[in-house]
């Protein structure tokens, strides 16, 4: 399978920016036309390199937002004191060229071993990006694997991919929790993910689920530790922390 392990050198190549879609006020999805893309697995990431006119370069990693077989896409959240993300989220235009290399990573990928294992995805903020890739891949495969996405966002306005996630698909449940602000009569959850919320939403350990957790460090620590506390074996809780391997 492509990208399970990277064989040979991952070379930088020039990608051309295609469609640019504003997801929220702070988040943008960027499609990339990559002439020589070897294909990727759901959950992998790529590296972006920007070069200033005096030769200064900056590189960062971003999760792939598209399913295997779809055009390469990343979704970028503008970090206030970031170096690369404000450029990608504000300045990049269709037709621009940037350098990328990838795909990278073989750990935070789905499917993992048994495709039938109930799937629990827990996202904090833009930690939802690799899950779009996973959920689209799941749909493409016609998988009926019971799947729950618990997605924590500050407010409804900050929910990324909402239109797509709100479409009901086979065996997929999406549960939002809004931490700072909820609309009137909000039917979803409110507040940060905690042990009590995980107990209600997570599959039982006896169902042999596999969990993927992606978000800021403190969020991932809380959720991963909470799932282990519920009885999830540590090796069935996959984590990706911002600032960690593959963080945006």
């Amino acid at each position: 399978m492509a990208g399970t392990a990277v064989r040979g050198r991952l070379t930088w190549q020039v990608a051309t920016v295609g469609a640019v879609v504003d997801e929220t006020p702070a988040v943008r999805t960027i499609e990339l036309d990559v002439p020589d893309w070897a294909g990727h697995r759901a959950g992998q990431h790529l590296d972006v390199r920007l070069t200033a006119d005096d030769g200064y370069v900056a590189e960062r990693s971003y999760s792939l937002a598209s399913a295997p077989g779809e055009p390469v896409a990343i979704t970028v959240e503008r970090l206030p004191d970031g170096e690369v993300s404000p450029y990608l989220a504000d300045d990049l235009r269709a037709g621009d060229e940037i350098e990328i290399r990838g795909p990278i990573g073989g750990y935070f990928v789905w499917p993992w071993q048994e495709i039938v294992s109930p799937l629990l995805l827990v996202a904090g903020g833009s930690g939802v990006v690799p899950f779009r890739s996973i959920l689209r891949h799941r749909a493409d495969l016609g998988s009926t694997t019971p799947t729950r996405l618990l997605y924590s966002a500050r407010s409804l306005e900050d929910v990324i991919y909402r239109a797509e996630l709100d479409v009901v698909r086979n065996g997929l449940e999406v549960i939002y929790t809004l931490t700072r602000q909820q609309p009137p009569s909000w039917p979803g959850r409110a507040g940060r993910v905690n042990d009590a919320m995980l107990r209600e939403i997570a599959w039982l350990p006896s169902q042999r689920p596999i969990a993927y957790v992606c978000g800021p460090t403190a969020f991932v620590e809380t959720v991963a530790t909470g799932l282990v506390g519920l009885g999830y074996p540590a090796d069935r809780v996959k984590t990706e922390r911002f600032g960690g391997m593959g963080g945006g």
Binding site: G8, A52, E83, A224, K238
Partner: protein, 202 residues
């Protein structure tokens, strides 16, 4: 020839001006970001031990108290994460791997560090000897916190930081190299930040 990103100027230039100490492609942070695969394990010190193994046998094992009784060193080093942050003048406390290997007194060409949670990483013996590697249990005058690898982690600052395995519980002595966790998932087998060996083939 890299395309110029029109209007891109970079914001971290000042922080990376100390180029003698910052490897290519890295930027300096004053935070201490966390990177790990999987949940943070919490092993009580009473049941913690550090072992050197070979061919499935335990050659030598230390309890937490045994480890503290070895010569403890204070170490100030720069560290470099493959995700591009570097942190300068980090202060650690620990026991040198030289001291541990001296007590084990066995030959090997490679080691595979093993950890709570199942993480592994491989290193040539030449990179964990000669005062280049420690089992660290203190950071900034405090016990090393679990999210940063406590109670003890490997500290091999001259290589990318994934080689400094968190929650380390021992070293397996090997005659032949064997890739560890990230090394099997496409990261570089050696991980020299000065040669920017991030991924396989770099």
């Amino acid at each position: 020839m890299s395309p110029i990103s029109r209007g891109f100027h970079g914001r971290h230039r000042d922080a990376t001006a100390d180029t003698d100490r910052v490897p290519p492609g890295q930027f300096v942070t004053t935070d201490f970001p966390v990177l790990s695969a999987g949940p943070t394990p919490y092993t009580p010190l009473e049941s913690w031990s550090f072992s050197i193994t070979q061919g499935g046998d335990t050659v030598k094992s230390w309890s937490w108290r045994d480890l503290q009784a070895l010569p403890v060193e204070d170490i100030t080093v720069d560290i470099h994460c493959v995700t591009r942050w570097s942190k300068l003048d980090t202060r650690w406390r620990g026991v040198s791997v030289d001291a541990l290997l001296a007590e084990a007194d066995r030959d090997a060409r490679y080691v595979l560090a093993f950890c709570d949670g199942g993480y592994t990483t491989n290193l040539p013996i030449a990179d964990v000897t000669g005062g280049q590697a420690w089992v660290a249990f203190g950071y900034d005058d405090q016990p090393l916190q679990p999210e940063h690898g406590g109670p003890a982690r490997l500290l091999v600052p001259h290589l990318y930081f994934w080689k400094s395995a968190k929650w380390v519980r021992g070293l397996e002595l090997l005659a032949a190299d064997e890739p560890g966790f990230w090394e099997r998932y496409g990261y570089n087998n050696y991980g020299d930040p000065w040669r920017e060996q991030r991924y396989a083939g770099d």
